[in-house]
């Protein structure tokens, strides 16, 4: 066990943790933020995606020690008022069915939207193929990312 302070969503979380503990369990069990999901534990499904210094890492295989001193952002902190374009577009297109995978989907989409503000279907498939949706909402995910890109452009133009 070691004393580690995680910065999650711009807030400090001092904790006692095994440095080998995956970031996922530190976020869920120690910081108590449940939006980040466990799906497979072996970096296959993407339900646990969080941002680590802006990258869409899979928290189930990322040791908590890797996150120390870095900025962790989870779905709860993606935007101040749950108004990230992907969050809005997901609701507008009514993407979720069971909904379990979607915090991971949105966290992946957010990195795509930052790096490719105007993604093609191919870009979306390339970026999102790591996130499994068992209910099969993939077509709506594509649609929502396109809509989010449009929303993002408008916000950028205004701002």
């Amino acid at each position: 066990m070691a004393k580690i302070t995680l910065n999650i969503n711009k807030k400090e979380y001092p904790m006692e943790a095994d440095p080998q503990m995956p970031l996922l369990w530190a976020i869920r069990d120690l910081a108590g933020l449940k939006g980040t999901k466990y799906g497979c534990g072996v970096a296959q499904c993407g339900a646990c995606v969080v941002h680590l210094d802006g990258e869409a890492v899979r928290s189930c295989v990322t040791k908590v020690s890797r996150a120390a001193g870095k900025q962790v952002v989870t779905i709860e902190g993606l935007s101040e008022t749950n108004s990230h374009p992907a969050q809005l577009a997901w609701q507008e297109i009514d993407v979720p069915q069971c909904g379990y995978c979607h915090s991971g989907q949105i966290m992946s989409a957010a990195v795509l939207l930052r790096e490719k503000p105007d993604p093609t279907d191919q870009d979306i498939d390339d970026a999102m193929a790591g996130n499994i949706c068992r209910c099969g909402t993939y077509l709506r995910i594509r649609k929502a990312i396109h809509l989010a890109a449009d929303m993002q452009k408008k916000t950028t133009t205004k701002g």
Partner: protein, 213 residues
């Protein structure tokens, strides 16, 4: 272009000789800058003391079977998606190479591949530099014959402008070494790293001859 003594009777003797020479060569090569202008492969600066096509081709057999083993080939795919597993299937979730070979947007290699192997079966193997060859230098192994692979390895236009010295150094590259520390449940390359390295250097320093096929 290629010489092929195809003198089977000599092979055993020359193998031993080559081993001896190559050890000397290795020591020599580190500091030496001598090269021969009449090297069979143009554009490459060679630190060669003793060219021997038989020895070279023989050494390349070991090099080839190593590079074509899953631990090496899986990150040198023919397409833009790495391979996975001992059967070298396309990597699940089809991560794309990207310009630098480090993946794209939400699918960067280091999103899953940590600095070290993640413990457990079926867990992502790790390395601080985990990546594919970049888009400008794909260095494809998959599907290449020994001849094609040897030529490609020596082609500065395709090998990242590596001369013999750089190529020799590359045997100790962190990602090359990672092939011998593949994480739980994965088979090792067919020879040890030391054996590979010896064959690699022998091949290079006896003229880097490409096998006929």
């Amino acid at each position: 272009m290629k010489q092929d003594p195809s003198n089977r009777a000599n092979q055993f003797v020359s193998l031993k000789a080559a081993l001896f020479v190559s050890i000397l060569l290795f020591i020599f090569a580190v500091g030496a800058s001598a090269f021969r202008k009449d090297a069979p492969v143009k554009e490459v600066s060679l630190n060669i003391i003793n060219r021997d096509s038989t020895e070279s081709v023989k050494a390349f057999e070991t090099v080839y079977k190593t590079l074509m083993s899953p631990r090496c080939m899986n990150c040198h795919p023919a397409g833009n998606v790495p391979l996975q597993g001992d059967d070298s299937h396309l990597h699940a979730m089809a991560p794309k190479r990207g310009v630098e070979g480090k993946g794209v947007s939400a699918m960067k290699c280091s999103n899953c591949h940590q600095e070290t192997n993640t413990p457990g079966l079926h867990m992502p193997p790790g390395n601080p530099e985990w990546h594919l060859p970049p888009a400008t230098m794909k260095m494809v192994f998959e599907g290449k014959s020994a001849h094609e692979l040897a030529e490609q390895l020596m082609d500065k236009k395709k090998n990242g402008n590596k001369d013999i010295k750089k190529l020799i150094e590359h045997a100790d590259d962190g990602l090359v070494l990672a092939g011998w520390n593949p994480g739980e449940g994965r088979t090792l390359p067919p020879v040890t790293h030391a054996e590979f390295k010896k064959a690699w250097i022998t091949w290079l320093q006896t003229g880097a001859y490409a096998p006929k096929k």
